[in-house]
Subunit: 427 residues, 2 copies
């Protein structure tokens, strides 16, 4: 029950709000900023001047055919190439690292396939750090890294970013890993601190936040994808597993300890298929990649895995393959039942299907809608939108970048002053 | 993306924060308020002086053995008897109306049993209005009603408080009701505006907000019950049906249109018992009163209904009645499976069992815990608390009162000035 903010807190809030605006909406005129924020133009000028001095934005005359007669309103543009974050995506089948500039531009990226099977934390950290260093070498000398975050396919404790559960990575090696690797070599019971290990390897003096991949996908689709403007949104993410990210009243649902959103482990079919979590009939077990491939007669020993394997099933169903079609219908029915439960519980404005669930949904939309019609109440269903992720496979990576920007957007000038050592401060 | 608040907005925020503090925590010294709000004592003095002038609080010397030497800090006390709300609870088996003073004291109440079966909106509105008027006649001449809200066992649209779905009230009469009753006589397809009808009958010039009963129960347990201090809480409410209210990050989950929290219609047993919503195997169908009574060999034609009937089953099970015990175990197993899904999805700090679910949970806690151990992930389960509602049968009524106080707590002085006509303004 805190009192209202002090003038200094308001100034920081306004600096952050202005920076967030141009970060998310792109270059904006002072006039637009004044209108959007409900401030007069002289206050906007003072704020942009502070942000310019900190090297976060620059102001310039408007370009192109939009110019009109009279004194033009200067356009405020984020310093995309000079202020950036590092975003990491640790997928079951892929590692990705990107340097993402203020404003959300992916400036540069590296990607590598990952072989399924045993997860070696030390090796993964080394690979990610190596890729990140290569990206940073290509950044300009005056560029500054303002944050870093990683999308991870498992549950992560909020208080210390420790990994608690990752049924689709075989983490035995992480558990017994070499002591020399420090925090990355601890057992899952203690929790694996992948972010700490990566942060030490990078040596930037910055923490690497670790977040559940589907949570970050939800954040990305909410801020930069199909869910812009929708404050009650559920993002369902298929990789090998089935993750979820939930936005409630414009904020990501984390729960008491940060484990919220494990929609894939909602039991929809009691006594159903065995799930990696040890339970039976979880949404992940009934809708996941393994089940779809098994039902459609494709075994995991086939050449195709992940996205490609699922696309092959959808394509086969389109071409009239009865077993593939039946498999998709069966999986789509369980998916729809799961979504119906979520609609009753959350009354979301939108449900977004991302990762491999995008393809599964597109191949079984009729079954999903039919299960919804049967199992969801009329009232929460009538304004519901079902959509596919707009950011595609980059949703989790983009979400990691947005998460990494959070600190600098909350208190831009202070955070930047802390990061830049005196000799690097722009003159 | 609004700018920070203006000085006037901050003043209103601070007035509201101070009033909310004494409303929820009781009479507080200026010193405590200064510390809790992070303001200096002269600012606290200015705020309390405004609230005193508006007739919302009074200041007095501390009483009793707490007095110490030196100049004592004045105690700020809410004007409980002069500032009140009307709270209504429309249960399936009961109507309750209370006059609740600022600070949360139930000053006076009326209660009446309700016969199950056809719901007559006009008759119900008349009964509630009559009881409310009787309560108001007993209020002091200088007392002012600052808000009004009703707990309702069904889904209510947020934008206009219209009732959309109430499977446990037989609303045929409400649907075809007499046109003379206006909004209360419309069909459920158009929505029944019970709050409008009651507001007109009361003639106070105040709207009567209508909210889902379990949502209000969650609010009450969060602010005044077992869930104080727990910002991620799920409240499960048993009446004839099975309702839910969810607090996420300290705020009630409403969803896109206000229908959020319909946990009772999560399907836990596909193809299971038919539910009032038309679906099969909903939590409400597997755990509700009707099922427990049927499984335990008690038919609905028995003399006992509702809370009494459920207590009779729990008592019989305690005394060794095998059928009653088996019925409770079966129902408890489904309840536990439902809770496990919620734990995976929300990672709540606490799950609270209220209404008749309090008794059902107490009679089947072992089954609930066992289903949780099997179906919930370890991580979100390890800090989870399972608790029974502290406010008992009054949770929904207390929640309605809290909801009714929301406006005056958001902007105390303005709202009160609007409500008091000039001649009633305290001198």
């Amino acid at each position: 029950m805190k009192a209202g903010p002090s003038p200094e807190e308001i100034r920081r809030h306004n600096l952050g709000t202005l920076l967030r605006f141009v970060h998310l909406r792109g270059p904006s005129s002072r006039a637009l900023l004044a209108e959007a924020m409900g401030l007069n133009r002289s206050t906007i000028m003072a704020l942009t001047s502070d942000l310019t001095a900190a090297g976060l934005v620059r102001e310039e005359l408007p370009r192109g055919p939009g110019r009109r007669a009279g004194r033009p309103s200067l356009v405020v543009r984020p310093e995309s190439t000079r202020v950036y974050v590092l975003a990491f995506d640790l997928g079951v089948d892929r590692l990705a690292v990107a340097r993402v500039g203020l404003g959300g531009t992916i400036l540069d990226r590296r990607e590598a396939g990952r072989t399924r099977g045993e997860f070696d934390a030390a090796e993964t950290v080394a690979a990610l750090a190596g890729a990140a260093r290569a990206l940073m070498r290509k950044a300009g000398r005056d560029a500054v890294c303002v944050g870093s975050a990683m999308a991870f396919p498992g549950t992560v404790r909020r208080s210390d970013d420790v990994i608690r559960f990752a049924p689709n990575l075989d983490m035995r090696k992480a558990e017994r890993g070499p002591a020399a690797e420090g925090a990355a070599g601890r057992s899952l019971e203690e929790g694996v601190a992948l972010g700490d290990a990566l942060s030490r390897r990078l040596g930037l003096g910055l923490p690497v936040a670790v977040c559940n991949d589907a949570n970050l996908g939800a954040l990305a689709e909410h801020e930069r994808g199909i869910g812009i403007g929708c404050d009650d949104l559920i993002y369902l993410h298929g990789d090998v597993g089935f993750g979820g990210g939930i936005v409630v009243g414009g904020r990501l649902l984390g729960g008491a300890d940060g484990y919220g959103g494990e929609i894939g482990h909602m039991v929809v079919n009691p006594g159903g298929r065995l799930c990696g979590c040890g339970s039976r009939g979880c949404l992940e077990a009934e809708v996941g990649e393994r089940t779809l491939l098994a039902l459609s007669g494709r075994t995991e020993s086939s050449d195709l895995l992940g996205r490609d394997a699922i696309r092959a099933v959808v394509d086969a169903a389109d071409r009239g393959d009865v077993q593939a079609r039946d498999a998709l219908h069966r999986v789509g029915d369980w998916l729809g039942r799961g979504v119906a439960n979520l609609v009753n519980i959350f009354n979301p404005g939108m449900v977004v299907f991302g990762g491999t669930l995008r393809d599964i949904y597109l191949g079984s939309a009729a079954q999903v809608r039919s299960a919804l019609a049967t199992n969801a109440l009329n009232a929460p269903r009538e304004n519901l939108k079902l959509r596919t992720a707009e950011l595609g496979d980059d949703a989790t990576l983009v979400g990691a970048a947005e998460f990494a920007f959070a600190d600098v957007l909350a208190d831009p000038v202070e955070v930047l002053a802390r990061l830049r050592s005196p000799e690097e401060t722009p003159v």
